[in-house]
Amino acid sequence: MHRHLQLTEQGKLKHFLSIEGLDKGLLTEILDTAESFAGISEHQVKKVPLLRGKTIVNLFFENSTRTRTTFELAATRLSADVLNINIATSATSKGESLLDTIRNLEAMHVDMFVVRHALSGAAHFIAQHTAPHISVINAGDGQHAHPTQAMLDMFTIRQHKKQFEGLKVAIVGDILHSRVARSQILALNTLGVAEVRVIAPKTLLPAHVRSMGVIPLHDMDEGLSDVDVIIMLRLQKERMNSAFLPSESEFFKCYGLTEAKLLRAKPNAIVMHPGPINRGVEIASSVADGPQSVILEQVSNGIAVRMAVMTMTLGHHGGAA
């Protein structure tokens, strides 16, 4: 389904909405392309002219300074013109307003929408209703997908582990509400890791999480045993004391990543977090700032990965040089 919508007839990336339906070859191509952009940030002139003359709209129906900034930087470094539009909207807003927004922007001859929305499927809906020449990148939709975040995580893992085969990966925290986790799970399995574990209390796991190709566990010691990669997820504080969890302190006690718990993982295990982090809630500062943490590298890699996805999606119709 997604493959059909996301790819051109030639199998090239047209939209980037989800990891679903993309094969290992295409994911690897994204990582390789990102690799070629990774050095640009080190240059004195941090720009390449690949998307000169293109207009990219960051269409954010949900606030996110970090993600929007990295998309903006990625577009700027590709020499595209960027328009940032934040649309405060409620989850119950009608489809017409979403469509009307899209249609109005289309009339301004833009080339790409980078969409963040609070509802699952919103980016998919926009991709189905935009003009054929426009590409859509999903920058997070509801609890569904955040594929560029997942790919920058894969990029970071590859940097440190060189290959995916044989790796054991643990994802810890609020899996139920996490679009990042859903995309990570799909990407990790597609790229061929040996095992993906999700560690959380049952209140924070989807009811049928096994069907996603993961091993659900409720105990950190068991879950972190012998893993190569630990991905901590942000725990939204509003979930505390709202029948999901009893308290911050109890969550931290059970599922917070401390140096002691980290000892269960392989000695060279890396610690990741999509950010922003809640110190002392899901991760101890000593771990977040410790030698095994690659959290800030993830942020840097986000720009290269988003540059890669932008050029690949726009490239098939003449965007790339």
């Binding site: 389904m1 807003s93 489809g95 509802l119 998919h124 809906f125 509801g142």
Partner: protein, 428 residues
């Protein structure tokens, strides 16, 4: 006196245990004779039903017509036209109109509109509580006097179990059937999909089967306590089938229906984020579907309904969770029922009984059968005719169906209501 002869058709009338080739004679709006026409019968109109099936007109236990209050989605005129093209000669209108059916005035309004649309067998279901707000009982006796055939709270939650108990006691005091949609609102929350693998994968808020089965179990307990005759509407899962089966086994006066699309589609059929698959209750697991079909086959589920809910285009345009649930389902009722008989080995007689004889019995109507003296409500259909679901073939104002642009098999060719030929298929 208009006389109609329907000849050469395969007459299937489950109520009278008829399945034979023959003729059906209609005189003065009533069934006159089945199989063998009287020697002196001279028809004004003859319908050749060769290679077609002639059966009682269908009785739909739940069809939204969108009037009053939601005329941008459909009207009594447009949706009764769809009903006639689907062989539906009697239908029950749930009370969640706007204003809701909680006063005789609204019932009268609907009657007037039905009369104007020349569809005389719309049965209003009265609201169980005032304004459907779940707190104060409606004037059920007045609603019954105005013509309501049953009472229901539609999709609206009830304030608490005591209100349900009182509503059952009061409804049964007046001999009213209570049609109950089982849903524990706190458990279904803002869910929009079955809490299963599909919802997990796509990050859609899920509705667990327990939201239905827990509410159902509570309602059955209260029906036992109060002696209220209860009909459970649009069940969707295995646990509900089991609970109803047990309740029937132990003598509770309970009946149940399932929507035709629930009997055939599961979460595995849902195209990701395609709002045409957004229904409440949601499409459940394959196992749930299997149990529903078993339930229909063994009589636990008495009736099939359309659960017809036409929508305007905008209602289905948007991200999946924000779209409105429901399928425009009248016109696919017959072909999908036929699919049940061919793909899932449910006997044609059994399937047709669930559209005719059984809903009539649930509602206490003298209908759903080709019994001499009954109103001549008749459906004639071609069980082999393939047609595409598209603008040309469609009558409902709502185009919201997962079957749009698909080919289906089985088409109603004639519908008679009270002996009047109100629909004749024309290949447009």
């Amino acid at each position: 006196m208009t006389k109609i002869l329907i000849e050469n058709g395969r007459i299937i009338d489950p109520a009278n245990k008829i399945d034979d080739i023959g003729s059906l004679c209609i005189a003065d709006g009533k069934i006159l004779q089945v199989l063998n026409p009287p020697a002196d019968f001279t028809p004004d109109l003859t319908i050749d039903a060769k290679d077609r099936i002639v059966c009682p007109g269908f009785i739909d236990l739940s069809a939204r017509l969108r009037e009053p209050g939601h005329s941008h989605k459909g009207s009594i005129k447009s949706e009764t036209k769809a009903a006639l093209s689907a062989g539906v000669t009697s239908l029950c209108l749930p009370p969640d109109t706007k204003p809701c059916i909680d006063s005789p005035a609204v019932v009268e309004y609907i009657k007037d509109k039905a009369e104007a649309a020349e569809y005389r067998q719309i049965h209003s279901i009265g609201a169980l509580t005032q304004r459907l707000d779940g707190t104060e009982l409606s004037s059920m006796f007045a609603l019954k006097q105005a013509g309501c055939i049953a009472v229901s709270n539609a999709h609206a939650p009830l304030g608490n179990l005591l209100i349900l108990r009182r509503a059952m006691e009061y409804a049964s005091s007046h001999g009213l059937l209570l049609m109950y949609r089982a849903n524990e609102a706190a458990l279904s929350g803002k869910g929009c999909a079955h809490e299963g693998a599909m919802a997990s994968q796509y990050g859609l808020p899920g509705i667990p089967v327990a939201a239905e089965s827990i509410a159902l179990a509570q309602a059955l307990e209260l029906a036992q306590l109060t002696g209220c005759r209860i009909h459970i509407s649009q069940i969707s899962c295995k646990q509900s089938v089991i609970k109803i089966q047990q309740a029937k086994k132990y003598g509770l006066n309970v009946t149940a229906d399932a929507a035709i699309h629930q009997l055939l589609l599961s979460e595995n059929d849902v195209l990701p984020f395609d709002s045409h698959y957004h229904v409440i209750p949601p499409f459940r697991s394959e196992e749930d579907g299997h149990y529903l079909r078993e339930g229909l086959s063994n009589g636990t589920i008495d009736a099939i309904c359309s659960d017809h809910q036409p929508h305007d285009l905008d209602a289905k345009l948007g991200a999946f969770p924000e779209t409105e649930p429901g399928v425009s389902a009248l016109e696919t009722l017959l072909p999908l029922t036929l699919e049940l008989t061919t793909l899932h080995r449910i006997g044609l007689g059994k399937a047709l009984a669930s559209l005719t004889q059984n809903p009539a019995a649930i509602l206490g109507l003298q209908a759903g059968a080709l019994t001499p003296g009954f109103n001549a409500d008749v459906c004639i259909f071609d069980p082999t005719l393939q047609w595409e679901v598209n603008e040309q073939s469609w009558h409902s104002a709502g185009h919201n169906t997962p079957y749009w642009r698909q080919n289906l098999i089985g088409k109603v060719t004639h519908t008679l209501q009270g002996g009047r030929l109100l629909y004749k298929f024309r290949n447009r």
